[in-house]
């Protein structure tokens, strides 16, 4: 009796498995129908909203929301912005799962982000295979768009509106050589993708320029950098400190003073944080100039400030505004080309590269380079921190 029931169940179940495996193969090849441009379309933003880099995602998110709110009606589009959280602490698997989620949602026609280079690497294949364009406002790792070390980590579906570390590294290093006339530089990295890539790029240019360099690596659990400060030679001119936590750069600068070292801290785009990193005499580089100095942006800034009364304009926000602007323009072009219905996500992807923007939020005009999915003629800016903690553009 017992055996008979069991056997019957087993046969039944096996046939179900076989049947479902058959059916599933068919189901997955169904192509999503078109999306009407009159209805609501979605764009999703993958960025760290929580975790150590949460400040970055929240700043970017506020600008992206503002951009959708103001630009979409002007372009006669109904757009809903969906935020996806990719905390840097949890590695790349989160970005992959979220990518699946958005690919599975028929109404998602474009992606902003992922914001961090590691997450881009993890998610870009999924987006590419779905023909879904994604544009990051802050992932600067060189290998994402350029085949520099023989391996390309991005896909043709990946775009960015800020230049990569292949520009930032040499820009910073050349500034150190030509303007600061450095002899000895200590370069730190923090054993995560962003800093190791940037540190290597700076090191290469400095070495080529005949500067003596020392490389120090900190593990990702390091909280107290005292021992690193001790290792900085007394005659070092600069400590290149490409952290993603501006507060750490501040502490490092203070500890240098504490130990009577003359070296100044030089941070990358991740060290920008006027509230947190404000040690006078330090340098930071960034992909965006201070947009509060751009006259054409005054209206945008005022509007954003109204929505975010307690926040100050940082450097990560404006490129996110720009990324949304590019994505919306591509969607609009696709809508026009397809006569009001986006038949396929590829259509948006195809339009991305053709987008040109005349009043670019970071100043001047915007277009993509013909050789890669990077912005044309973009450059990095260098700021020096003043006595009162403000950032002054110096190069």
């Amino acid at each position: 009796m017992k055996k008979a029931i069991g056997l019957a169940l087993a046969v039944l179940a096996t046939s179900v498995v076989a049947a479902s495996a058959q059916g599933a193969q068919k189901g997955s090849s169904a192509i999503a129908a078109g999306v009407s441009c009159k209805g609501t379309m979605k764009i999703a933003f993958l960025t760290p909203l929580t975790g150590g880099a949460g400040f970055l995602g929240n700043e970017q998110g506020s600008w992206a929301k503002y951009a959708v709110k103001t630009l979409a009606p002007a372009m006669h589009l109904k757009i809903q912005l969906v935020m996806g959280d990719t905390p840097v602490e949890q590695g790349a698997a989160v970005a992959q799962t979220l990518a699946q989620k958005y690919v599975g949602d028929r109404k998602v026609v474009g992606i902003i982000g992922p914001s961090t280079s590691g997450a881009v690497v993890a998610a870009t294949q999924t987006f590419f295979q779905a023909g879904l364009a994604h544009i990051s406002p802050s992932a600067t790792k060189t290998d994402l768009t350029k085949r520099e070390n023989g391996k390309l980590e991005g896909t043709p579906a990946f775009f960015r509106d800020v230049p990569g570390d292949y520009i930032q590294g040499p820009t910073d290093a050349n500034y150190m050589i030509k303007t600061l006339h450095v002899k000895k530089v200590v370069i730190m990295d923090f054993q995560e993708p962003y800093s190791t890539g940037l540190a290597a790029a700076v090191e290469r240019t400095l070495k080529a320029g005949g500067v003596s360099t020392t490389r120090l690596s900190a593990s990702n659990t390091t909280t107290d950098y005292s021992a690193f400060v001790t290792k900085v030679p007394n005659d070092a001119d600069i400590v290149f400190f490409p952290t993603q936590k501006p507060g750490d750069a501040q502490t490092f600068a203070q500890q240098l003073l504490e130990q009577g070292k003359k070296a100044k801290v030089f941070g990358g785009d991740g060290s920008n944080g006027p509230g947190q990193f404000k040690a006078p005499g330090s340098y930071v580089s960034n992909f965006a100039p201070d947009i509060t100095g751009i006259k054409a942006d005054a209206k945008i800034i005022a509007g954003w400030k109204k929505d975010n009364p307690k926040s100050t304009v940082g450097s990560f926000g404006p490129p996110s505004y720009g990324a949304v602007q590019i994505m919306l323009s591509a969607i609009k072009r696709a809508c026009a080309a397809d006569h009001g219905v986006i038949k396929n996500r590829h259509d948006v992807l195809r339009q991305m590269k053709r987008v040109k923007i005349s009043n670019w939020i970071l100043g001047g005009k915007f277009a993509f380079s013909t050789k890669s999915n990077d912005p044309l003629n973009a450059k990095f800016y260098i700021f020096k921190i003043q006595q009162d903690g403000s950032y002054k553009l110096v190069g």
């Binding site: 900190a218 001790t230 502490t251």
Partner: protein, 307 residues
């Protein structure tokens, strides 16, 4: 030589904070035989309480009280806050499990640790909090100090080290020279026998949590006056503190102090002379070596299980 002196100062600052954390572990383990995984997160909460009170007092730009009073107040506030937190954790997460199999309170402790870290993130976000002690009296805490050879030991580090040692001496006095301390030691030696002798075990345990958590709170402030704190520092800090406690001999108070300092020296010298990347590996190797060759630690007594 200068580098050696400098690294030694670093090691002392680091080690005294580790020692304070380790003391909490050791005390609680002593009376309850429980590995309080949440201890590192109590430490983290302490650093945030310190930050909050600092802002209430006008922050470092514009303090409403003198600098010394400011430092004292934030330390005591953190100690008081953490002591309360410790008591609550003990009462609700550990006490119901006192007679459960040993694995149960450990898992509960993991849950508490995870709960605390994420609750703090929910309420206060993931942004690092910087005390900005450099702004106090124009950086005097950093730029003034005692010169040893060519190396200047800044005031802030001296304050950290001295404060930690004062707390340790106080604790030693409390445990070895008072009635409550005696009750603690008796409970730690044999809980059931102590109960039969008329010692109120619940009170002793609560008192232990008050002491241990207050020390963690103090450690949190002493740590965060120099380095920005985040909601996620508890995990690693707890791990280091526990290692220090094991090295010194868990359950032994002088052992925890020694263990903390050894760990501080090991980390600082490894980063200074060997490699900055692999210092965690060195710490781990020390721990494993102790586990294999001297499981009772430097100053602990061997554990004899009674049947």
């Amino acid at each position: 030589m200068d580098q050696f002196t400098q690294l030694t100062v670093d090691a002392l600052t680091l080690g005294s904070v580790y020692a304070l954390i380790a003391l909490g572990y050791t005390l609680i383990y002593g009376v309850l035989k429980l590995l309080n995984f949440a201890h590192g997160d109590v430490f983290m909460v302490g650093s945030f309480i310190g930050f909050g009170v600092l802002q209430l007092l006008g922050g470092t730009d514009n303090p409403v009280v003198p600098v010394w009073a400011l430092l004292v107040i934030i330390t005591f506030a953190a100690m008081a806050g953490c002591a309360t937190l410790g008591v609550v954790i003990e009462r609700f997460a550990y006490r119901p499990l006192r007679d459960a199999p040993r694995i149960a309170p450990l898992i509960s402790a993991l849950g508490v640790s995870f709960f605390l870290a994420n609750s703090m993130q929910l309420l206060f976000g993931a942004d690092p909090r910087n005390y900005n002690t450099f702004d106090l009296s124009n950086g005097a805490l950093y730029l003034r100090g005692i010169d040893i050879g060519n190396v200047r030991v800044p005031l802030l580090r001296i304050i950290t080290i001295v404060a930690a040692f004062v707390l340790m001496v106080l604790l030693w006095f409390l445990v070895n020279r008072t009635r409550t301390g005696k009750a603690m030691r008796a409970t730690s030696f044999d809980r059931e026998a102590a109960a039969m002798m008329g010692i109120d075990i619940d009170r002793v345990i609560v008192f232990t949590f008050v002491l241990g958590s207050a020390l963690a709170g103090a450690a949190g402030v002493l740590f965060a006056v120099r380095v920005p704190t985040t909601v996620s520092i508890g995990f690693v800090a707890g791990l280091k503190g526990f290692t220090a406690a094991v090295i010194g001999g868990i359950g032994s108070i002088p052992g925890a102090m020694a263990g903390g300092l050894i760990l501080g020296f090991a980390e600082s010298y490894t980063q200074g002379y060997v490699s900055t990347k692999w210092s965690d590996l060195v710490v781990f190797s020390i721990l494993i070596a102790f586990m294999i060759f001297r499981p009772q630690g430097l100053l602990g007594r061997p554990d004899i299980s009674k049947v």
